[in-house]
């Protein structure tokens, strides 16, 4: 039982489930408290120790099914039937060839019921990042690796046939069929693992679908279709909103706003001096929210949303401990300094005029995320909210959503604001459903009413 569990753990680890030794020990000791021969109890003990969040459960279930059902690693099932004999012969023959590369070996092991190496290979492919900065852009490297595995799988399939063909004396037709069937099933399963990346069950995802009507006409016009006068009107509304929010925020903290003596802390310090308040401690205005890192897609129509978002974020800077902002199309650029040197509206105008970003390049979210991860990941910490403002239309480039997953692991929350209304999210080259799996919150944000809803929630 312990051995079996350990083998299973190696598979899970190969599939990126982080399981510590302590957890393995816990699991083994708990197995002695239940009846491990009842599958639901056995599985439950494994799951509550190896998948410590709902997000990891789907991955766990996949591995559990593979290991204990597909692979029949269950020790009780070591029966000696004629086909297992033949399959063993075939595998021996396959392995004899010592020019096998790692992938072929992994596949042979997989057929023999030892899936770990293959899972590792597949995981490597799934998490493969595109090369940055190449003259000719392509998103083919992951596809190429996949193709290679598929070819190998087909090769083995034909080897099975050949083996059985050479062997007709020893094996009758029915048995042959059974063997081909068994091995092909297993190979199909290997193919399935390659092609179906499991998406985490993002049950905690907050999806905002409806919005309040704060303003009747102007509130509902998509940002991208605003005329010049309407833009001014929106700015006006934003100014008022910012003022209102600031007032609420200061009111809420008026008791503790800057300049007031913190009696408790002062007294506490005074203990050192036999009660004489030598050090006077003042209250800092508590910063409500941690840091904000905003990634803004500035291609095409998305910019019109991003600009208002930046406008609002920087107008409310005081409410956060820090605001950093980046813009991207396919390259990513830090624009935080614009807001240090200019007032908010000018800064927003200047970003469009003075940055060297290529606005006409095809948008590539995967690459932009990768740039961010490689150069700016240190900006993310457990007190940071990552805001992504974009339509997730990535021109069919490799979405590299696992990079987003890594970013999520570093920060407090990931919120995606999509200027498109929700019904368009799945259409065309939109990767919204891919990225959604790694967000804490997604919401359409393409007009003033939606923007107001979001900002009020963020601040209050």
């Amino acid at each position: 039982m312990v051995n079996l569990t350990l083998k299973f753990v190696s598979c899970c680890r190969a599939a990126d489930l982080r399981i510590s030794t302590a957890e393995v020990l816990d699991c083994v000791s708990q197995l002695s408290l239940v009846n491990p021969l009842e599958e639901d109890e056995f599985k439950l003990v494994l799951r509550s120790n190896f998948a410590k969040s709902r997000r990891e459960q789907s991955r766990f279930d996949q591995m559990y099914h593979l290991f204990f059902h597909e692979m029949k690693s269950d020790l009780s099932q070591v029966s000696q039937s004629p086909e297992t004999e033949q399959i063993k012969n075939f595998l021996d023959q396959l392995m004899e060839n010592d020019t096998l590369d790692t992938l072929e070996k992994a596949l042979a092991d997989f057929l023999a019921g030892k899936p770990m190496a293959y899972i590792q290979e597949v995981h490597k492919i799934h998490t493969q990042e595109e090369q940055e900065a190449r003259a000719l852009k392509s998103n083919m490297s992951q596809l190429a690796s996949r193709l290679q595995v598929m070819l190998k799988i087909n090769q083995i399939k034909s080897k099975v046939l050949r083996f059985l063909g050479d062997n007709h004396a020893a094996v009758d037709e029915a048995l042959k069929k059974k063997i081909t069937g068994d091995l092909n099933d297993r190979l199909d399963h290997a193919m399935g693992l390659l092609n179906n990346e499991p998406r985490p069950d993002n049950y905690g995802l907050k999806e905002v679908k409806n919005h309040e009507t704060h303003y009747n006409h102007i509130g509902e016009i998509p940002f991208a279709s605003l005329g010049q006068e309407e833009i001014e009107e929106v700015r006006d509304v934003i100014r008022k909103l910012v003022k209102k929010l600031e007032e609420i925020a200061t009111l809420r903290y008026s008791v503790s706003s800057r300049g007031v003596i913190d009696i408790k802390k002062t007294l506490r310090k005074s203990g050192k001096y036999l009660g004489v308040p030598m050090e006077i401690i003042f209250k800092d205005r508590p910063l409500r929210k941690g840091k904000i890192v905003a990634l803004c897609d500035v291609s095409g129509s998305v910019w019109s949303t991003a600009r208002f978002m930046l406008n609002i974020l920087y107008s409310l800077q005081e409410c956060f401990s820090k605001v950093k902002s980046y813009i991207f199309v396919s390259d990513l650029m830090d624009v935080t300094d614009f807001f240090k040197d200019h007032d908010v509206n000018n800064a927003v105008e200047k970003i469009m005029k003075d940055t060297h970003i290529n606005y006409y390049a095809p948008t590539d979210y995967g690459m932009a995320f990768q740039h961010f991860k490689n150069r700016h990941i240190q900006e993310l910490d457990k007190k940071t909210t990552l805001l992504i403002i974009g339509d997730a239309r990535s021109n069919h480039m490799n979405p590299q959503d696992l990079v987003l997953k890594r970013m999520r692991e570093r920060c407090r929350r990931v919120i995606w604001l999509n200027p498109e209304q929700e019904k368009f999210w799945g259409s065309g080259d939109s990767e919204m459903y891919t990225y959604k799996a790694h967000c804490h919150e997604v919401r359409p944000c393409g007009n003033l009413n939606q923007l107001i809803d979001f900002i009020e929630e963020l601040i209050l």
Partner: protein, 344 residues
């Protein structure tokens, strides 16, 4: 330990029995007999958990009972995840009832810090003490010859200033110091800050905490710990490693019927079945806030009060506000009403 306890007990908000050592032993003896006689003992098996939880009106699945049993047997905290209102908090309360333990609840929020979770100095008392010291300081140093001696003398007394007698316990310290084991509910731990989470780690792994001015305080008894999370943010691996994980989903139709029947025994069976399956269908709609178990109960109650025994489009619309708290959700359900009320 006993001496310390005495000091702490005398100054901290505690039941009166602790003001006098003699009383203390008297009461303790009674508690001892009590727990011996009634024997609200540990859970003996998964089935035992299930039955005893049902005894206190909590309907638990096999999964829930198993995890509770394992957690108790291995003295590990449970980390419970699940949508709002599926009974996460209720589970901790019910376990406390079964085990006849006190439940101490620690609600987490942004900005929660040790002084609110663990302990706080009692400033008023410290201030009084300071005054006293000022008056007495002459006596203390009257015997001393040199300035250095005087300073040393004062320093000896200074320690008393930050001693346990000036500590005001908050939930976590209370849970740790309790002589009788408690159930500690750390609710919505996902709302807390990372610093607080790090601090919880020490508590959950060794069941001890360090107070800089005093030293380490070790748990006298082992609390049964339940942490709940609504997935506002992801918890750290280190925290997860220390817990057994449990995900509670919306209950199956039969389970939810069971719950409602238990809490509202008078309800007509057929009506109840209709109601619960309608709630399940409403949960499948794209709502801001899905109705939870307590809203099913509210709905059932209002049907009983209004003596409605037929769930038609009109009667549903009329009572819908008990389960849809948002106007937009209300509209969505109304739009899908035919689908919601359809039979079978």
């Amino acid at each position: 330990m006993a001496g310390r306890e005495g000091i702490l007990g005398a100054y901290v908000e505690r039941p009166a029995k602790h003001y006098n050592a003699a009383y203390g032993t008297f009461y303790d003896a009674i508690f001892f007999i009590n727990s011996y006689g009634k024997a609200p003992m540990d859970f003996k098996s998964v089935l035992d958990v299930q039955e005893r939880l049902e005894g206190v009106q909590y309907i638990s699945s096999k999964e829930i009972s198993t995890v509770v049993f394992l957690a108790q047997a291995t003295k590990k905290p449970i980390l419970v995840e699940g949508p709002a209102g599926v009974g996460k908090t209720e589970l901790a309360k019910s376990v406390a009832k079964c085990l006849d333990r006190e439940m101490i609840r620690m609600q987490c929020y942004e900005g929660l810090d040790e002084s609110k979770a663990l302990y706080e100095w009692e400033y008023a008392k410290q201030l009084l003490y300071t005054q006293m010291v000022k008056e007495k300081i002459h006596d203390v140093i009257s015997e001393t010859a040199t300035l250095k001696e005087a300073v040393d003398q004062i320093a000896d007394h200074e320690d008393a200033f930050f001693s346990e007698r000036f500590i005001q316990t908050r939930p976590l310290l209370q849970a740790i110091r309790s002589e009788k084991p408690v159930v500690l509910l750390i609710d919505e731990v996902d709302k807390s800050d990372p610093e607080f989470e790090a601090f919880l780690l020490e508590l959950l792994s060794d069941f001890q905490v360090s107070i800089p001015e005093i030293g380490t305080i070790k748990a006298v008894t082992h609390p049964f710990v339940v942490l709940t999370s609504n997935n506002y943010r992801d918890m750290s691996d280190a925290l997860k490693r220390r817990c057994i994980h449990l995900y509670i989903d919306y209950p199956a139709i039969e389970t939810e019927m069971h719950i409602v029947k238990m809490k509202l025994p008078g309800m007509d069976e057929a009506l109840l079945a209709r109601l619960v399956s309608m709630v399940a269908r409403i949960r499948d709609l794209d709502l801001k806030k899905r109705p939870c178990i307590s809203e099913t109960l509210d709905w059932a109650r209002s049907l009983m009060v209004l003596q409605i025994d037929e769930l038609s489009a009109e009667s549903v619309a009329q009572t819908l506000n008990t389960i849809c708290k948002h106007k937009s959700d209300y509209e969505i359900v109304k739009k899908n009403i035919l689908n919601v009320i359809k039979q079978g």
